[in-house]
């Protein structure tokens, strides 16, 4: 199954959106049904343990780039999320592990898989940011290829498309709200002359150093 | 998982039983009480093989919890008529070859009773519509429609008397003013 779309965030910049989408905490807060989203080191994610870990953690939304940089998504790393997808009376909770395959501003690519009882999914997703034509906002172009297996695939086929669309829509609406509420201001690349800042910026912006020439 | 003491009156006989909340009415009838005339054909409320009458209405007993039926009057195929004293609907199915494997038939007949109560003289199309919730894989339905029509005639002896002709010549009495 393939889905794609474009979502426009108003009154913001590519850097701000990039920063926001770099922050697992903001993503967790914006994703409908997401209980936690955590970096995982171990080969196998133990979701019971992660759940306890998440409860013990004190992570707040912030507009502080440095804090965000400290916890920002990193290319090649894996993240675990507990996601409840609510579709009327059907509310499976998926234990999901996502790998950030590529993170190179303004582009991100991730792949992952999740399971809930005898249903599961695999997905591969990419996203690119660009300034909108009027220059007033940011266009997020996204596309996802997903495969769904088990009960949900067999019996919930007709709901998957609209539900996926709704989740994406609500996600970006929340991102937009959070952006405005927090007043996130991205460290603009032009600010950072010093090498320390430079690396921070690179890290937050997910820019690989070697390809900084663009 | 809660358990519940319920009372079901099935074909006039009162039964007290204890069921898990999740026990479906059809399983209470079949497994607990032994009314195996009611069959299970699907699990998505589409085939209607499990149709019984609950408080006088056709319902799919696989889509009701037994606990929801607490206190209800249930009528199953076992209550229709015996081989020596068929109910008209059974007679209709027998005469018109309205069944082959017979698995859908109990549910089919219980729904047909509903149809005929609502509309004692249904057209073929109305019967087909009324049976939308009952699937049959053997007969192609044509003889089932015949069976229900046959039963309709049987159950409406008055209508039969002049029914045959009035089809071609509706309300002749009120048309008296028009002369050739």
């Amino acid at each position: 199954m393939e889905f794609s779309g474009t979502f426009e965030l108003e009154d913001t910049t590519v850097d701000e959106v990039w920063l926001a989408l770099s922050d697992p905490v903001l993503v967790q807060e914006s994703l409908p049904g997401c209980t936690f989203l955590l970096h995982v080191e171990a080969e196998e994610a133990d979701f019971d343990e992660l759940g306890e870990q998440a409860e013990g953690m004190d992570r707040e939304l912030t507009n502080d780039p440095e804090v965000i940089a400290g916890r920002a998504f990193r290319e090649g790393e894996r993240y675990a999320a507990l996601m409840q997808v609510s579709v009327g009376p059907v509310n499976p909770t998926f234990e999901t592990v996502v790998t950030i395959d590529e993170r190179d501003r303004p582009r991100m690519h991730a792949s992952g898989e999740g399971s809930s009882g005898d249903s599961s999914f695999e997905m591969s997703s990419s996203m690119a940011l660009s300034e909108t034509e009027d220059g007033d906002g940011v266009a997020v172009e996204w596309e996802t290829e997903a495969d769904v297996f088990g009960k949900v695939a067999g019996m919930g086929q007709r709901v998957i498309n609209p539900v996926a669309n709704r989740i994406v829509k609500r996600f970006f609406s929340s991102v937009q709200e959070e952006l405005h509420d927090l007043g996130v201001e991205a460290v603009s690349s032009s600010d950072g002359d010093e090498s320390d800042d430079r690396s921070l910026v690179d890290r937050v912006l997910g820019r690989s150093k070697s390809t900084d020439s663009e | 998982m809660t358990e519940h003491d319920i009372t079901l009156t099935v074909n006039g006989a009162e039964h007290d039983l204890t069921v898990e909340a999740r026990t479906l009415l059809v399983h209470a009838l079949r497994d607990e009480l032994g009314y195996t005339g009611t069959n299970v054909g699907c699990e998505s409320s589409l085939c209607g093989a499990c149709t019984v009458r609950m408080d006088g209405e056709a319902v799919k007993s696989c889509t009701a919890l037994a606990v929801q039926a607490d206190g209800a009057e249930i009528r199953t195929v076992e209550d229709l008529g015996t081989r020596h004293d068929f109910h008209p609907i059974q007679e209709g199915f027998q005469e018109e070859h309205g069944l082959q494997c017979g698995y859908c038939t109990p549910g089919m007949m219980m729904t047909a009773l509903d149809i005929l109560e609502e509309n004692p003289d249904p057209t073929r199309e109305e019967i087909r519509e009324g049976l939308e919730g009952n699937l049959c894989r053997c007969t192609g339905y044509q003889n089932i429609v015949n069976a229900v029509q046959n039963a309709a005639k049987e159950m409406q002896p008055a209508a039969v008397a002049d029914g045959g002709e009035s089809d071609d010549d509706p309300t002749p009495a009120t048309d008296g003013g028009e002369e050739l």
Binding site: P89, N165 | S45, I115, E132
Partner: protein, 296 residues
């Protein structure tokens, strides 16, 4: 075929239902009305709530009342009970014709008007009818009743403006005794749900459409008004030309990205069908509208 285990509670009143919901707020709780959407989902293993609160026997939620201005339908009124009331066809013709086409004989005997609307299945028959008949959904919670216009009620697939601690208690339809209603539906041959269903309620006087509301099911992720059709009808004389013009505008303003697309029909085909079924619904309206001569 076998639902997972759950705890079952039967509410005898609306307030008891609300109390039960509050009591089990931490658990996954579902209200059980007719059960014809919920129980199949539970039997297939797609849905496994911890708690079911049965509101089917709450006396106050049953029955149809007409006071001249409004037709009130208790949320637990079954489809067949609704159809059986003369007032239904008289005061809420659009809803009446839609309810007649819900499910099958047995489903209509158990399923409820309120349960259908609360469930908000976009392929069900009543969201469009609620919109076409300008219904108000009465939602009751710990703080009492709220009244939500059907226009504001449906958020998306199975998503509505009902809070987690609330339930739909009544559906109110402004009396439309002068109006004509029609529902044209293309049912899925397997499930019977609407691949597309168009519901119209129109007041026609002397051959001219005084007012018309048109709702559609199965097309988008929720029941929607077909505003292009309504515009085309408003003030026009109800004839074939108007019907053609209205049907041509069936998908006007609909966000095609959120159009339903599934095994039954692609979004593209649904676009085609909305037009076709709008035409059929309007033709039924035309058929049912007394000719000016006969009306006089």
């Amino acid at each position: 075929m076998f639902p997972d285990g759950f705890d079952y509670y039967e509410a005898s009143s609306v307030s008891e239902a609300i109390d039960l919901m509050a009591e089990h707020a931490g658990a996954e709780t579902e209200l059980l009305a007719g059960g014809h959407s919920l129980l199949p989902a539970m039997k297939s293993g797609l849905s496994s709530p911890d708690v079911l609160i049965d509101i089917g026997d709450v006396e106050a939620l049953h029955g149809v009342t007409a006071d001249g201005d409004t037709l009130g339908i208790g949320a637990m009124t079954t489809y067949s009970d609704f159809i059986g009331e003369d007032a239904s066809e008289e005061h809420a013709p659009a809803l009446y014709h839609a309810v007649r086409q819900v499910g099958d004989t047995q489903v209509r005997n158990r399923g409820t008007v309120g349960g259908n609307i609360a469930h908000a299945d976009p392929a069900s028959d009543l969201p469009g009818a609620a919109l076409a008949s300008d219904a108000t959904i009465v939602v009751t919670g710990p703080d009492g009743e709220r009244r939500v216009s059907a226009d504001d009620f449906f958020f998306g697939m199975y998503a509505t403006d009902i809070g987690p601690d609330e339930l739909v208690t009544r559906v109110e339809v402004p009396s439309a005794a002068d109006a004509v209603g029609a529902y044209a539906k293309k049912p899925s041959p397997s499930s019977g749900y609407a691949m597309v269903g168009v519901c119209v309620q129109a007041t026609v006087d002397g051959g001219t459409v005084q007012s018309a509301r048109v709702g559609a099911n199965g097309v988008m992720d929720r029941g929607v008004r077909l505003e292009g059709v309504e515009d085309a009808l408003a003030g026009a004389s109800l004839d074939e030309a108007t019907i053609d013009a209205a049907a041509d505008r069936a998908t006007e303003g609909l966000d095609t990205a959120m159009m339903m697309s599934d095994l039954q029909a692609s979004a593209e085909f649904r676009e085609q069908l909305v037009g076709t079924y709008t035409r059929r619904a309007l033709e039924r309206v035309l058929d049912r509208t007394p000719t000016p001569a006969a009306a006089d």
